[in-house]
Symmetry: C2
Subunit: 105 residues, 2 copies
């Protein structure tokens, strides 16, 4: 087993969301993104089979989708998206987001 | 996209850990387990390829492994285990745990 504490492993940047690769294997990739209020993961997608989960560990923001769509997300929210479906996130407070991609890109 | 808030979707039981299936697809299965202090997910394993992540969303407890091994886990901890490797969890406080299994069993 492998153990990582996200509060020790990753912090925040004033410039942009701060990315930390938690795990990568043939089965899934797990990435932690930390945002200051106002920082954003721009909407994107990949033309690949598979899904990802986005889990708000802390804070509040908005999930972003295609054509400018957005819907609020807060602590405890889990969003499932196809990898091929446009997805993003914009933070309203400090946010810790955990993303799991299966299979990895 | 599909959105679920774990704080709305799952609560606690006095009898045993309370399980909530968040998502199931050919890519991964996501399950939320809520524990009262003292409740336990007994050590288990499955003779299958793949890995799982265990994320402590809230609370404190101990991850359990083979031969009685245990190590502390708290909010923000991510543990990666092979599906075939014995794993479990025992709560010391109320705990919300999120488990992602890829590929699903």
């Amino acid at each position: 087993m492998k153990q990582i504490n996200l509060y020790e492993a990753n912090d925040f940047s004033e410039r942009a969301m701060k990315k930390f690769l938690v795990h990568d294997s043939p089965y899934f990739r797990i990435i932690n993104f930390n945002f200051r209020a106002g920082q954003e993961m721009p909407v994107h997608s990949h033309d690949l089979e598979g899904q990802l989960s986005l889990v708000v560990l802390e804070g509040e923001g908005d999930f972003l989708g295609k054509d400018g769509a957005s819907f609020p997300g807060r602590r405890g929210d889990v969003v499932i998206s196809e990898i091929a479906e446009p997805h993003g996130f914009r933070a309203r407070t400090e946010v810790r987001l955990l993303v799991t991609i299966a299979p990895p890109l």
